[in-house]
């Protein structure tokens, strides 16, 4: 179904935007590195691909006159979500450019701000790219080289947004949110529960692991003792 496809695409874009935001937050801090810059580049390219795909799909649907009214309302809602997502992505890209200029990595005189972060963002990047592990293959000075590409991509995104505004006129304020305030709690209680469940499962798993090992040891110890006792009994009797 077209709706489901659109939703899936939108969810993917949303995920990538969130990850991109996380990564932009770390520019200039102590966990900034060449890897981070490479991750930023890859994430942003993926985000752009997804954005283009989203736009194509949604524009074809919205231009289609044969869509029913409820469907149209639903697609307009998705459109609003999409355009807001794209706005946030563009802002983050611009900030990344600005911060990239301010904090070049290979200049010895410019020190990174000690923000207290130590770990890397590879997990976030992997989540964004939907891969298990990130591979880093960029050159040493990607932080400087990438900025030019970033500028171009920002312009592209800007143009895309402008075209979107011109081609599809969806008045944003007419869209009503489906979710009530506080909806994040309800769904994430399940998510939370699942995540808590996952945590507990993990912990259980770890506990289980430990307990398994312990049990194994105890069992084997008991077994050895039993065998020894049996041997003793046999010997004595």
């Amino acid at each position: 179904m077209v709706k489901e496809e659109c939703k899936a695409l939108l969810d993917a874009l949303n995920k990538v935007t969130a990850c991109y935001r996380h990564m932009v937050l770390t520019i200039g801090g102590t966990s900034d590195s060449q890897n981070l810059r490479e991750e930023l580049k890859k994430t942003r390219q993926k985000a752009q691909e997804l954005a283009v795909a989203n736009r194509n799909k949604l524009t074809t649907v919205l231009k289609d006159k044969t869509v029913s009214k409820e469907d149209k309302a639903e697609f307009e809602r998705l459109w609003v979500i999409f355009s807001t997502c794209l706005e946030i992505l563009e802002i983050d890209m611009r900030r990344a450019l600005e911060l990239g200029h301010e904090f070049p990595l290979n200049v010895p005189k410019k020190h990174l701000i000690q923000t207290g972060m130590s770990g890397g963002t590879s997990g976030v990047a992997a989540r964004a790219m939907s891969v298990q592990n990130m591979k880093y293959e960029a050159e040493h000075n990607i932080d400087v080289v990438d900025l030019k590409d970033l500028e171009n991509e920002i312009n592209q995104v800007g143009e895309m947004m402008y075209e979107m505004e011109m081609k599809v006129s969806v008045p944003q304020w007419t869209v009503e949110a489906k979710q009530d305030p506080g909806a994040e709690l309800k769904s994430t209680i399940s998510v939370g529960a699942s995540s808590i469940g996952m945590i507990s499962v993990e912990e259980n798993k770890s506990f289980c692991d430990i307990s398994k090992v312990l049990a194994g040891i105890i069992f084997s110890a008991v077994l050895i003792i039993a065998i020894v006792l049996a041997v003793c009994v046999v010997k004595l009797s």
């Binding site: 969810d11 935001r21 520019i27 600005e98 701000i113 000690q114 923000t115 976030v124 506080g182």
Partner: protein
């Protein structure tokens, strides 16, 4: 406090930007980056937190920060403390132990540097959408436990950006999940960072628009060699500031008061000419219409400037002022306006006239201004220009505003005008009966004609008004004199050859009041700009047909309304009689004498 000369490493001294927030921000950012220097920067230490041990968290003690500022910038301790405070207030560093207290404490409490993304920047103001996402995330993390002010913000944002709400929730969930991919210690640090950022940008208790106040001029980078910067800062300190509550209150009051007068917001009676093609609205509100609309007259009561802006209002006010014998004030004011906005090639003559008519000692319509202002004005008149009479004009304006205006509003003149004012009926758009017929489009009257009408009206009024005091004094003097000798030829005034009056003698000037006044030339349309008729002039007139500029002798202060002639009293040489077609109007009855010839 003397400004210190400091040059920030790596940044050129900023000469050109004065109030730019950006400049100060850049300087602070440069300082921040210097603080990170492992050798020369601030010493950092680890932070132990109850929940988890963050071995790599770095934080600087507040004393260290102060010491570093003192040593780096060579400023006094008070300034350093203030500067440090600013750092915290704007979010460059945030306190760890008491996050809500955005000040630099001196007791060695710990502070951490904020990530550059969250540094304050003018081009990236703290966005409502981001705040909503943050609150939703917090909701998820704390399972619905938000602070009171946060809950209010949340509800308000839900209403304000409701159409984005689905996105907000989606993004909040995703950001929350993405955050899980990081180390626990980093997650904690990230939380602290975001919380600090939003505490700075959405202060609890402030619901209104968070107006970004410009950074006060820190004494960071004042370059001693740039006197213009120093002067600018000194002037900025002395600038009077209005609290935004006051100015916004003023705006609200203004809007409320003028709401009913706004044709777009409140509609206009009888109808909007652009909609119904009916120009009655413009006719009714013409500049000097006979009977103004009620709304217009009520508007004069709002404040003095409204009264002065409206020509009809000024006319009415002048009527009132004449009764109070202070009409020269308004005439002077109007003359000054004419000087300011009128033909600049005639500035010199106009200034001279005004001086002779209003300002010279013993002038005919002498205005009452204080000595210093008079001194300044007279001095300035030696080299007249557009604004030479500004001081005097302001003085007179304030005099009228404080004194006469109040009485005017309670006077019968105003009340009569208010009673006379019309309230037009609302008309509906006429449906065109002939959809194919040609619509008769009326054009508005030509401005030339309008101006002529205006001037004629002014002339009529000038002729109609009489200077009462002069009338009474002249009356006394007239009774003592018999035959009035013919006046000696008068000195010519600016440009025109004088023509002797046609036989009507003129009274000699009043005793003891020499004047060098010369009459203004009668304009072709025939109006006298400012005019009250002196009774002396009422005897000798130049008709407008002669188009003459009446010359004045050194002694007389005659003013010549254009086309009226009144007979002198007995004993005078035969007058040519009242000119036909110019009946006397509005002259004091005691002056109306029939011709004896």
């Amino acid at each position: 406090m003397l400004p210190r000369a400091v040059v920030v490493l790596g940044l050129l001294p900023v000469h050109s930007c004065n109030t730019s927030h950006l400049c100060y921000a850049l300087q602070i950012e440069a300082l921040m980056m210097e603080m990170q220097n492992p050798d020369k920067g601030i010493k950092t230490q680890t932070q132990k937190v109850m929940i988890t041990d963050i071995p790599h968290a770095v934080a600087g003690k507040s004393n260290d920060i102060l010491q570093w500022i003192l040593q780096r910038l060579q400023i006094t301790e008070e300034e350093a403390l203030h500067l440090g405070d600013l750092f915290v207030k704007y979010g460059y560093i945030y306190p760890l132990q008491e996050p809500k207290n955005l000040t630099l404490r001196r007791d060695g409490s710990l502070y951490r540097f904020q990530t550059p993304y969250f540094w304050p920047a003018q081009s990236w103001p703290a966005d409502d959408t981001d705040y909503a996402i943050y609150l939703a995330k917090k909701n998820i993390k704390r399972k619905g436990i938000l602070e009171e002010y946060e809950k209010e913000h949340y509800n308000m944002l839900n209403q304000k950006i409701n159409y984005k709400w689905d996105f907000v929730i989606m993004q909040a969930k995703e950001q929350y999940k993405a955050g899980k991919e990081r180390k626990k210690a980093d997650r904690y640090a990230l939380d602290c960072q975001e919380r600090a950022y939003w505490l700075v940008n959405r202060t609890p208790g402030m619901f209104e628009v968070q107006i970004e106040t410009a950074l006060s001029s820190t004494l960071l980078t004042m370059d001693m060699s740039d006197p213009s910067q120093i002067m600018y800062c000194q002037q900025a300190i002395m600038k009077s500031r209005v609290k935004s509550s006051v100015s916004l209150g003023g705006l609200v009051k203004y809007s409320e008061q003028f709401l009913s007068n706004d044709p777009i917001l409140s509609g206009c009676l009888p109808s909007n000419p652009w909609v119904t093609d009916d120009p009655e609205f413009w006719d009714l509100n013409a500049k000097l219409v006979e009977v103004p609309t009620k709304m217009r007259v009520e508007r004069w009561a709002f404040n003095f400037s409204e009264l002065m802006r409206d020509p009809k209002g000024r006319q009415n006010f002048q009527l009132f002022l004449k009764k109070e014998f202070s009409g020269e004030n308004l005439s002077f004011w109007e003359a000054c306006e004419d000087l300011k906005y009128g033909d600049q090639s005639k500035v010199k003559e106009k200034a001279e006239e005004i001086y002779k008519l209003f300002l010279a000692p013993g002038a005919r319509r002498w205005i009452n201004i204080d000595g210093t202002t008079m001194g300044i004005t007279v001095k300035g008149l030696k080299h007249p220009h557009r604004y030479v009479l500004d001081a005097a004009q302001t003085h007179i304006y304030m005099l009228m505003k404080k004194d006469s205006y109040g009485r005017y509003l309670k006077s019968p003149v105003y009340k009569e005008m208010l009673a006379k004012a019309v309230v037009p009926q609302e008309t509906v758009k006429k449906s065109s009966n002939f959809p194919f017929g040609r619509r008769h489009l009326r054009s508005s009257p030509s401005p030339i004609i309008l101006r002529q009408q205006e001037e004629e009206a002014k002339a009529k009024e000038a002729a109609a008004t009489v200077d009462i005091t002069q009338v009474m004094s002249k009356l006394d003097r007239r009774r003592t004199w018999g035959a009035v000798p013919r006046l000696p030829p008068r000195t010519p005034r600016g440009g025109g050859g004088g023509v002797a009056p046609n036989g009507c003698p003129e009274l000699p000037p009043e005793v003891g009041q020499p004047s060098r006044l010369s009459l203004p030339p009668a304009p072709p349309g025939g109006g006298m700009a400012q005019g009250r008729v002196k009774p002396s002039q009422s005897f000798v007139f130049k008709s407008a047909a002669f188009g003459a500029e009446v010359d004045d002798s050194a002694g007389s202060r005659a003013r010549w309304p254009t086309s009226e002639c009144i007979q002198p009293l007995r004993g005078c040489a035969p007058c040519q009689g009242v000119h036909p077609g110019h009946p006397l109007r509005g002259v004091h009855p005691s002056l109306q004498v029939s011709c004896t010839s």
